[in-house]
Amino acid sequence: MGIGIIGDNIVSSLGFTTDENVAAVRRGDSGLRYYADAWGVPEPLVASAVSRERLDEVAGQWGLSKEKYTHFERLAIVSMAEAIRKAGVDMKSRRTLFILSTTKGNVELLASPGNDFFETERCYLWRTARLIAGFFGTVNEPVVVSNACISGVAALIVAKRWLEMGVYDTAVVVGVDVLSKFIISGFQSFKALSPEPCRPFDAARCGLNLGEAAATVILQRCAEQSGKVLLAAGAISNDANHISGPSRTGEGLFLALESVLKGTDIGRIGFINAHGTATLYNDEMESIAFDRAGLLQVPVYSLKAYFGHTLGAAGVLESLISARALRDGFLPVSRGYVNGGVSRPVRVVTEVVEQNMKECIKTVSGFGGCNAAIRLKIE
């Protein structure tokens, strides 16, 4: 038996279903747009935002009013509702666990404490998690994972562990973060944002783009031969080096990779979906960790130039695209890449390749020195 993906949905700048998002990635479309004056920040930026018009329309179908639910909550619920409906999950069962992965939740409400609709208590992540859970009538206390940019992958690993304990039969994991002045100004203050669409692993890369999204994964115990994509292994580690910069030796990511590679052969790994934020230090650190783990011959791609960095959603969203790539047998192009720009010769994917694959790896790294990796497989 393994832990398999039995349902999913992605709501992002590139679409409101997983199929729409996967099709957009295969076509090479990007959800990044130039915003001269948005989110109340003084500088222009390139970001990936969910269509408000379409969200209103879809949220309306689920009866989610703007007066009752925040933008963050509407995105989360819209993403989950479709996945739950299609997979036929009983959210009211004691055997179903709901996990929310987010870095900042409703933090934008701090800017308007006298808001007409929403109490400031909504900024507490447990509070927004309970509201989302309440929409679906779940009976168990939601689990909230808030581990910077590794939150989404960490939440999948947490879900896997709970299912393996046998305490729950089904885990519904949603990763969500939304664009706000709070988050954008913070990344701007770090001088981490690129003024153009980002270029992961490229010599001319100069920073990341932010994005918003809500991605849902539903996990259950499945037979190995079920035809489902299985979450075969997962590991979380720390660089023990710096709270806001990656390790120069890639220590934490290397340890996570070493752990998830146990029990398989590197020859079976079809690709690595890297974190690939397109900051100078992140991509360089990843190339070192891939080298140390013996993975330099494995094709690598980043999805950041399609979706931006969607923070707490990224690990869930990007794992889902990778699960589809594995199942459907294709390698997405690592958008924005032209010339090698990291010290180790990583094999960055420059054109869509169709091929059968058995396994893949997804990596993430974040502030606080945290790193995580998962290995997906399909039999």
């Binding site: 003084p42 870095t103 900042k104 939740g105 933090v107 701090l110 800017a111 900024c123 507490y124 992540l125 447990w126 509070r127 998690a129 309970r130 206390e141 689990v143 909230v144 994972v145 808030s146 581990n147 910077a148 960490a154 947490v158 562990r161 709970w162 393996e164 304990m165 305490v167 002045k181 709070f182 100004s185 913070g186 701007q188 203050s189 770090f190 590991a235 979380i236 580690s237 720390n238 660089d239 023990a240 080096n241 710096h242 709270i243 806001s244 220590e251 934490g252 340890l255 752990s259 974040g366 502030f367 606080g368 020195g369 945290c370």
Partner: protein, 210 residues
Amino acid sequence: MLVIKKYVRIREGECILNGQCVFRAESLSVRDWLTALYREWQLEYPKFFKMDILAKAGFLAAELLMQGEKGADNRRTGLFFANACSSLDTDRHYQETIGESYFPSPSVFVYTLPNIVLGEICIRHRIFGENTFFVSKEFPVTALRQYTQQVFADSGLERAMLGWLECEGEVCQVLALLVEEQMEGMEFTDEHINALNNKDYGRIDGKIEK
């Protein structure tokens, strides 16, 4: 079996280490109280002064737990903490810097993530293992205990630090446990965790022993 080898509890101006009151100071702000504990223990770690209150509290709890500890493989040490407020205390502080006067500061922004405290502890003690931060209205004793046990079982953990780290405004409540596999000791159970969290140690007067 897994045992609670050591524990630290901070609440209402009092710091308990393994059942002993090791520091008490009343009528100090949380910030000043944390600094006073740092000085009382004669710690030398200048980065402490750059930290927000959540990181300071977690750092100090880990410092007390790790005193005199050696031997475990730090790739096999895990950190599992939870709180209710995530990083809201620093979030509010950061929000003030992006209002009408707009001076966002990276050194404040970096603390607007609750797992930064875990990064600080990892740096200080060279811990490379799993570090996961959960947010929950109440101390999720059963969930945290079950999760920690599962990580011991499935990833060969040798040591864990875990617990509750709630720091917001003038509230600072910590229960931090050091858990290891041992033949004997206080078994790592919900009953024991709840007992440590709720026990009334009374007011211990006189000389405080470290």
